[in-house]
């Protein structure tokens, strides 16, 4: 199945096709196995959990255990972009 991974800030450099002149967001279209979790997708991109601050799956604030489905949008923010009113957002598992 396919997912769109959106990489913000310094993480964008992990997107192979990232072009510094056209954007500040890296984007990767990935083929992944059924039943994969966010953590599995991150592992495929060599992104460690402690490198990431905010994770949104289909624009919902999410935890790494959450399962990913075909056609999902997964967005990852690096540690140095940690700035959410965490009391307004809970991580969906």
């Amino acid at each position: 199945m396919k997912v769109d991974v959106v990489l913000y800030g310094k993480l964008r450099e992990r997107a192979e096709s990232f072009d510094d002149t056209t954007g500040s967001i890296g984007s990767v279209k990935m083929n992944i196995e059924e039943e994969s979790s966010i953590a599995d997708v991150m592992a495929r991109l060599d992104i460690l959990e402690n490198e990431v601050s905010h994770i949104f799956l289909n624009r919902e604030y999410s935890a790494v255990e959450r399962k990913v489905e075909d056609g999902d949008r997964l967005a990852l923010f690096p540690r140095d972009m940690a700035l959410l009113y965490k009391w307004y957002f809970t991580r969906k598992k």
């Binding site: 959106v6 913000y8 800030g9 954007g23 500040s24 967001i25 601050s53 905010h54 949104f56 624009r59 604030y61 967005a75 923010f77 540690r79 140095d80 972009m81 940690a82 700035l83 959410l84 009113y85 965490k86 009391w87 307004y88 957002f89 809970t90 991580r91 969906k92």
Partner: protein
């Protein structure tokens, strides 16, 4: 106590130093401005009439060397909301006023002649100077000229062309560390109150002697170090952390991704083009242009979220482009161009307008058909209408609600007449409860704070859950406490997660005042302060029916989450239960 209250009578053009009454001794910042307004201003007074007053008060720790303590509160009855107003800013003016030993500055009356004055608080006394030459002048130039007229070593607060129009979106400007007009008590139209008193600028000279008294130096120093450690340890506030690296605009991409960044007058919650104006882009551009980033808005700041934005060739510095300003003047108007946003922000700083209200006003005018969404050049021309004091300019300078009426718009994002900041309350419901209930009108800072854990609230909440009364209540109380202490709200991130930081805040407050307050006592200050503000508004004619979000937000689903604001009225009202 060495500090005094300075009462400025604009009827007679006189000033008088008064001893601080016992009841006010342990108050500062917002708690003090709101208490003086409640004690001295009739809730029925016309905001622009002789019976309203304008109060400035530095916080309790302001002017000390405690980190991030450079805050000042301005207070009065708001021409925008008709209720009580406290509008808070970080500026070197705050420190200088505090070190001069002024605990509060009370401006009252109005001059008999239709004239503007400069009040100079100098080393060798106080004097009024006629301000005729400054009328109609933009504030960037005015501050340059004031530095020339009064010399170096001064800090300035003042009002611009918008305030000369007595417009309800006129803010109060202060000097930044470079002496420019870029720091603001923007919200609520207090600039118009200052202008209605005939006061154009206050110029404060650095005092020879620092008048700040710290009663218990040992406790204060212990606290100051604890707070500094917490700030430098926490991911959000440390060096190379989010605020230091990208400034508040780091939120553009985050809130856009969450589906809560209002686009085109609150009609969608996300648009990929928002990245064009993100904090990451802005930081890169500033580096390329030779601007400054990071930067501090006031001398004691160690977070340094500020910056200096310039034109493409590095010329014509504007000051900081905050997240809220970038959003209101940008995506909310369908504008995704940092240079246009920078020039709109410059116009706001120069005219003396609140950026949040100004952006919402342009968006509402776009909705009303005056110009198209995305028309950046058109938006800049609207600013010219205000410069030229045309009838259209006068409408626009009065804010989103007034402009909405003028153009027959039924989707106007305001509460109590004040327009919303950069978080749509439909997918982020907690902030919606704060917008609805704060005595200030829609305001994100009123409930954007601090340690819910310490106050017994869960550290995480589902943004779509409608049970938000308790959360908003505790955040509003904590915020009121921070605003009164004189600390920047951004310390909240660190003191919420690191106990030592919270202890540091309480220690520094106790150190200055010579008190023995607990964390709970300090939070109680917030609660009491809010009660004072709420009672003023009730006497001014507000009821719980005014604690509601606009109708369209309850009926119109916001993409991409396709949700409405569905927090029940009883839940909203629970904010005011004990």
């Amino acid at each position: 106590m060495k500090s005094k209250i300075l009462r400025v009578n604009m009827d007679e053009l006189t000033v008088e130093f008064e001893n601080v009454p016992e009841d006010y001794k342990n108050l500062g910042g917002r708690a003090l401005t709101s208490q003086i307004v409640a004690d001295e201003v009739s809730p029925k007074a016309h905001p622009l009439g002789p019976n309203n007053k304008l109060i400035f008060a530095p916080g309790i720790v302001t002017g000390t060397n405690s980190p991030n303590s450079g805050r000042i509160s301005a207070g009065g009855k708001s021409p925008l909301t008709g209720g009580i107003k406290e509008s808070n800013a970080g500026t070197p003016f705050a420190k200088t006023l505090a070190q001069k030993g002024i605990k509060a500055l009370v401006i009252e009356g109005e001059p008999k002649k239709d004239k503007f004055y400069i009040l100079k608080l100098g080393k060798d006394g106080e004097q009024f100077v006629e301000a005729d030459d400054y009328v109609g002048k933009g504030l960037y130039k005015a501050y340059e000229d004031l530095h020339e007229e009064f010399g170096e070593g001064i800090e300035i607060t003042g009002v611009g062309i918008a305030a000369e129009l007595r417009a309800a979106n006129a803010g109060i400007s202060y000097t930044d560390p470079e002496g420019m007009s870029s720091r603001y008590s923007g919200r609520g139209g207090l600039g118009a109150v200052m202008a209605s008193k005939g006061l154009k600028f206050i110029v404060v000279e650095e005092p020879e002697e620092n008048m700040i008294e710290i009663k218990d130096k040992e406790t204060f120093d212990k606290g100051r170090k604890k707070l500094a450690n917490a700030l430098m340890e926490h991911d959000v506030t440390k060096k190379d952390g989010a605020l230091n690296t990208y400034g508040t605009s780091v939120l553009v991409n985050i809130i856009n991704e969450s589906g809560g960044l209002p686009q085109r007058n609150f009609s969608e919650g996300s648009d990929d083009r928002s990245d064009m104006v993100s904090g990451e882009r802005k930081a890169e551009e500033i580096k390329k242009r030779g601007g400054v980033r990071p930067h501090k808005c006031s001398p004691s700041c160690i977070i340094q979220c500020s910056e200096i934005w310039t034109k493409e060739d590095g010329s014509d510095p504007v000051g900081v482009l905050e997240y809220e300003s970038v959003w209101s003047l940008g995506p909310n108007c369908g504008i995704y161009d940092l240079d246009i946003i920078g020039e709109l922000n410059r116009a706001c700083n120069d005219l003396g307008l609140d950026t949040i209200e100004a952006g919402n006003t342009i968006a509402v005018a776009m909705e009303g058909g005056l110009l198209d969404f995305g028309d950046g050049e058109g938006a800049l021309k609207l600013m010219d209408e205000i410069y030229n004091k045309t009838p259209l300019g006068r409408i626009l300078a009065n804010g989103a609600e007034f402009t909405g009426r003028a153009f027959g718009v039924d989707r106007v994002p305001t509460v109590k007449g004040q327009s919303m900041p950069a978080y749509d309350p439909r997918p982020i419901k907690g902030i919606g409860v704060t917008y609805a209930t704060t005595p200030m009108g829609a305001d994100h800072t009123a409930g954007y704070a601090i340690a819910p854990e310490i106050m017994g609230v869960g550290g995480e909440a589902d943004p779509f859950d409608t049970k938000k009364g308790e959360l908003s209540k505790n955040l509003q109380r904590a915020t009121a406490a921070i605003d009164s202490a004189g600390y920047c709200l951004f310390i909240a991130f660190a003191i919420m997660d690191i106990d030592e930081g919270m202890e540091g805040v309480v220690d520094t407050v106790n150190g200055v005042l010579g008190t023995d307050y607990s964390i709970e006592d300090v939070m109680d200050f917030g609660k009491e302060g809010l009660k004072v503000e709420r009672e003023f508004n009730e006497k001014a004619g507000f009821s719980k029916e005014d604690d509601r979000l606009p109708e369209f937000m309850k009926e119109e689903k916001l993409p991409p989450h396709n949700v409405v604001f569905d927090v029940p009225d009883e839940e909203i009202d629970s904010v005011w239960e004990d």
